[in-house]
Amino acid sequence: MAPLPQNPGGHSAVLQQALPPDWPLGNPWLHFITFTIIAIAFGMLMIIAFIYVERRGVARFQIRLGPNRAGPEGLFQAFADLIKLLLKEDIVPARADKLVHLMAPIIATVPALAIFAVVPIFGNGALFADLNVGLLYVVGISSIGVVGVFMAGWGSSNKYALISAMRGVAQMVSYEIPLVLAALGVVLFAGSLSLNTIVDQQGIPYLLLQPLAAVIYFLAMSAETNRSPFDLLEAESEIIAGYHTEYSGMKFALFYVAEYGHAVAASALFSTFFLGGWKGPFLPPVLWLMIKMLVVFFVGFWVRATLPRLRVDQLMGFAWKGLLPLAVINLVITAIEVLFWPTQSMWPLVPVNIVIAVILVLLWSRIFTLGGGKIEVKQGRVEVKGAKTVEVKV
């Protein structure tokens, strides 16, 4: 493996070198090879770590042990699974569209790793490419994953898989807009789309300055990566295994990798946008990023272990009536703050924004439970469709 890049005294020192301004290693080819290996290795390492942490962690939530036989404390379980799946028979349904069926898992997996091209992993300026449209690249690339999911559902010629794929597209389309708008709050504060600059600007983590955006981003990101409680396209009790029903062997393994890969990418992005990315005292930057990613992921599967799965109408209603208006309101408030609040003293903004976030969330949950879903309020009476009318005191 190529040597790790040095961190030569921060952004300015790197930028002031006359020759290639955004290549910390000087030679572009050396830079390319080093960071390609680093990005893929980091991605795969975190995927394996996440699989292990989730399997053991969720087992603890459900009062069981989880995989603990392969290697010390079950550390090699992922490798055992990989070898097992390599030796499995690859069954392709006779009625399937063979080419689409083959390409789907690859297309679903690639975007998860491709995101690490713009995420600063090893500190300031030490990343593959410091794109000045980094966030747009992330948004664009990460939505390609759903094409793979849809190809899987359509290509396997299975009605349940097709239902799952349709649900997946509808879900990702719905949660894309709150996700994009929540990230806009961060862009407003940082004044840049470059992920490196976003981390660089975070004296105060944007989790504190943008609590509402962080909550919206977290929920939308869980939905985009099909994590529970938003994993409707893998609802076992309704549609078998969803879009990968007809997959076996290595292709199934790729979908498994894709699921965790998107979780890894989403955690990395959340850490970068809201938790200060690689920043932190004492420990090396890459370790800080890993810790933050694991914390974000832990909160994710904590939610998974706690909450039951949503219904489809609840899922869509939550995106369109809950998260989207909240994200727009947050955007307007943030824009006003950025324009009229003095940039020298950002700390007083933290309690203000937390209070605003709490008020808005409480207000919205109230509106949402009364008039948003299938329940309608008419002159002091709450009517639930298909159920008896309930009198409420106002």
């Binding site: 572009p28 390319f32 390609t36 799946l85 390599l86 030796l87 499995k88 028979e89 690859d90 069954i91 392709v92 349904p93 006779a94 009625r95 898992p105 690859i106 690639v110 790793l113 491709a114 091209a117 593959f128 490419a129 410091d130 794109l131 747009l136 690249y137 948004v139 396997s156 010629s157 009605k159 097709l162 349709m166 597209v169 509808a170 389309v173 719905s174 894309e176 807009i177 994009v180 708008l181 806009l184 862009v187 407003l188 840049s192 078998i240 029903t245 062997g249 290595m250 292709k251 393994a253 109408d313 869509m316 209603g317 369109w320 009536k321 989207l324 727009v328 307007v332 824009a335 324009l339």
Partner: protein, 123 residues
């Protein structure tokens, strides 16, 4: 900048090759006989929880999915347009904020109309 995009294109190509290596490895395992390959008619039939498959699976789908797609196209394009505004807000100043507010207000009219017409309900 352009070289960066070129590098990223190459990077994605490397990832595609890396990911494709896994199914290719599985295929090689099959060729050398480590993994079995004995497709039978029952094995390659469509699995729908034990029921026989009726008709084709490539069917016309419920229209409610497409209404969401339509709303998405309208809103997502505008969200991306807001990105260009957000990057430069500090130099655009209050006038820029006013323009964006008008922009959001126009969107809100369409959004509220959609809500009123119950297109946001999952029917």
């Amino acid at each position: 900048m352009l070289t960066q995009f070129g590098q990223i294109a190459l990077f994605i190509l490397v990832i595609v090759l890396f990911i494709s290596a896994l199914p290719i490895a599985a295929f090689i395992f099959r060729l050398i006989g480590l993994a079995p390959h004995k497709p039978t008619q029952v094995k390659t039939s469509t699995y729908e929880s034990g029921m026989e498959t009726v008709g084709k699976s490539w069917i016309q789908f419920n229209v409610r999915y497409y209404t969401y797609a339509l709303i998405f196209v309208a809103l997502d394009v505008t969200a991306i347009l807001l990105y260009t505004w957000a990057v430069d807000l500090k130099s655009l100043g209050a006038a820029g904020l006013g323009v964006a507010l008008v922009f959001i207000a126009i969107l809100a009219v369409g959004y509220l109309y959609t809500w009123k017409k119950k297109f946001l309900e999952w029917k």
